[in-house]
Symmetry: C2
């Protein structure tokens, strides 16, 4: 009796079904994918607390539309916190949530991998 042997990866599968909504990797891509969100997280991470106008200036090239949209989605997904101070003129501050802070070290590894390999 003959068998066709097929090697398979020896580590935990990267993703059984990344197309499925349950896949953690897909969730990450869906929430921080796109052109701007990681950049926004970068700037907030660097300063800990950032105002809307600062982000607008620091995230080089972003438009008002995209900044506002991205911030709203990031807040809805629990990645950033928004605090509004009703002074005149109004002041709004953004900071990372705890779970987002735990994402930063992984992004740092990704950054280093990109520097070394791309």
């Amino acid at each position: 009796m003959k068998y066709t042997m097929r090697k398979i990866a020896d580590h935990e599968p990267l993703c059984e079904d990344i197309a499925g909504k349950g896949c953690g990797l897909k969730k990450v891509i869906d929430t921080v994918g796109g052109k701007w969100k990681i950049m926004i997280l970068c700037v907030i991470d660097k300063n800990e607390v950032v105002r809307y106008g600062e982000l607008s200036r620091s995230v080089h090239g972003i438009t008002n539309t995209m900044l506002a949209n991205s911030l709203k989605e990031l807040e809805a997904d629990g990645l950033v916190e928004r605090k509004q101070y009703d002074e005149m003129p109004v002041r709004v501050e953004y900071n990372l949530t705890e779970k987002t802070k735990s994402l930063i070290p992984i992004l740092l590894q990704l950054k280093k991998w990109g520097e070394d390999n791309l």
Copy 2:
């Protein structure tokens, strides 16, 4: 004399200028961003060696256009290797390069983070 104190992050900056072409994080996003590339890497990783037709069936929902385009770009960026056997009919096999294999553990962390936090 008064100073405005401003907290800054105490760890290595996630990205000084992620908009700049030199940023490793931006490179990663540019190379494996998009809807399909990580899924393709997943499937190749799982099987070590995969044929075009297998990818077409395994990457759920992908079209010929996108599969072909993605594979060409992944190959151009040195993330996958393509081997063509001139049999009849022709057979083509894809596998991950060494540097891509070193990316997998980072993606696994990302996946776990997504499962725990999203």
